[in-house]
């Protein structure tokens, strides 16, 4: 592989690691560690394997057909089908973007002591300005590379000398040691945070923005496998630090501020600021992705010209779409809705709509018009079939579990 290609793969892997976490991943992992120590590590592992397959397929679809997932679903299933997943995705995007903005505001509250609502509008302006002036590459690479600070969670977990035997046992799927409703609610929330619809929509659009072609399929597989695989280590780090710092004291996660203690444990005062910076950068990167994703799915559903790499003048409707999306979601924080409650609610909502979004993938990834001879093999089809089955189960149990164990 040429040097340029190796650099490109390295960059892809690093941005996957830096960009892996978002507010949902942090909240659900910390809640899992605080409530059940290492018991739920296996859910993060299963979720990550699903993410790797979904990201690889989204990238392959775009690289070969030059069409995104949103394009393909509308073109193959028609507007009368596609209007439902896209409306559901709008609602979820609106809430998740609000929660991500909340994450950045909480980080600034931790750093400055000023209440998080006051930060909503400045944060929204910073997001909008970055999208308005930046290009897709700049946003993806810069923010995600800064996101490498989240490796602090991995370092924190190691510094706390985890009982590796218990950790290893946590990777073996097991039933609930206690409070089964809460156990399975967190498991569904972790999966909902990991297998979120934006993966398919955002990554396929990103591959088109980056101009990927069939020659990039190997890189696509490497970035998905290695990048996401290492990325999940960061989420496991959050879970393990919470298990070692919060669980022994019976501290359950009711507020983002409490999660700061997970890094204060191993690193003292340094840990406090490391957490604030990690939360802020992670959520800022996720804000950029969620806002752009709204622009992508509207433009691709209605066939507009779109592209973050284009200047705003060259894609007016696309830029207006993400501008309105940022403005609307910011209101959620200005009103002062608790970001953690909003996060967990949007994770449950995501779980309910997942089947509608993921099921068409099985058809599209076997369509020779789109994939030529790169259609799914039996392994990929088998995994997509499993993921679809999983999403149906999650959809059924998400709301009842939220009520029982939320």
């Amino acid at each position: 592989m040429k040097a340029g290609k190796v650099l490109q793969v390295a960059l892809g892997v690093l941005t996957s690691i830096g960009g892996f976490l978002d507010v949902g991943a942090i909240a659900t992992a910390a809640d899992a560690g605080a409530s059940f120590r290492f018991e739920l590590l296996w859910v993060v592992l299963v979720g990550t394997i699903c993410v790797i397959f979904l990201v690889e397929m989204a990238g392959r679809l775009a690289a070969v057909s030059k069409h995104s997932y949103a394009d393909a679903v509308r073109e193959r299933f028609g507007f009368q089908f596609y209007v439902w997943p896209i409306l559901a995705e709008f609602v979820v995007d609106f809430l998740v973007l609000g929660a991500e903005i909340g994450g950045v505001c909480i980080a600034l509250q931790l750093l400055t002591g000023v209440a998080f609502q006051w930060w909503a509008i400045p944060v929204a302006l910073a997001i909008w300005l970055t999208a308005w002036l930046g290009t897709f590459d700049f946003i993806e690479n810069s923010v995600a590379l800064l996101g490498l600070v989240t490796l602090a969670f991995v370092a924190g977990a190691v510094v706390l000398h985890p009982p590796w035997g218990e950790v290893a046992k946590g990777f073996i799927p097991s039933g609930a040691p206690h409070e089964p409703a809460h156990y399975w609610f967190i498991a569904v929330s972790i999966m909902g945070a990991l297998i979120s619809p934006y993966l398919l929509y955002f990554y396929s659009s990103g591959a088109i923005e980056d101009g990927w072609g069939e020659k990039d399929l190997t890189m696509n597989r490497l970035v998905a496998g290695v990048g996401m695989g290492f990325g999940s280590l960061v989420q496991m780090g959050v879970l393990m630090t919470a298990a070692m710092v919060l669980a022994p004291h019976g501290i359950r996660v009711d507020q983002y501020g409490q999660i700061a203690l997970t890094l204060v444990g191993p690193f003292g005062e340094w840990g406090y600021y490391l957490f604030a910076v990690s939360l802020g950068i992670t959520c800022f990167g996720a804000c950029m992705e969620q806002a752009l994703e709204t622009g992508f799915i509207v433009s691709q559903a209605l066939g507009w010209n779109w592209g973050e790499s284009k200047r705003p003048v060259e894609a007016a409707r696309f830029t207006m779409a993400y501008t309105l999306s940022i403005a609307a979601s910011t209101l959620l924080m200005v009103v002062g809705i608790d970001p953690l409650k909003l996060t967990l609610f949007s994770m449950a909502l995501t779980a309910v709509m997942l089947p509608l979004v993921v099921t068409p993938l099985l058809v599209i990834m076997n369509d020779r018009h789109y994939l030529g001879e790169h259609t799914n093999g039996w392994l990929a089809n088998g995994v997509v079939g499993l993921i679809i089955g999983l999403t149906f189960v999650m959809a059924l149990v998400a709301i009842p579990l939220e009520y029982l164990g939320g």
């Binding site: 019976g250 501290i251 009711d254 840990g271």
Partner: protein
């Protein structure tokens, strides 16, 4: 509610060790006191079972203590904060027993 008592305890300790800023301690303790008061008020409406009365008293005591820790932290009085925080585990144990007592019934 046991979680908030434990959180307050850890925050007070970390504050005295200089690991977390005062504003963070204030925000967390205020939130904890608020949750304790809410729990006490909720129990106030419940029928006057002895266990409920006992739990309500412990929540009220916890709310008062958290508010006092918050106040001494605002005055930057580390020793007073540590002293008050030292009383938290006792309240937490009582709450634990009451809670597991309720669940057992």
């Amino acid at each position: 509610m046991v979680s908030w008592a434990a959180t307050a305890e850890m925050v007070a300790q970390r504050w005295t060790a200089g690991d977390v800023p005062t504003a963070y301690a204030h925000n967390t303790l205020t939130k904890g006191a608020q949750e304790a008061r809410r729990a006490a008020a909720k129990l106030g409406q419940a029928p006057a079972a002895p266990v409920a009365r006992e739990a309500q008293a412990r929540y009220a005591e916890l709310a008062v203590r958290l508010a006092r820790i918050d106040a001494v932290i605002a005055d930057d009085d580390g020793r007073a904060a540590a002293g008050l925080a030292a009383g938290l585990p006792a309240i937490r144990l009582k709450l634990d027993r009451l809670q597991s007592g309720c669940q057992a019934r």
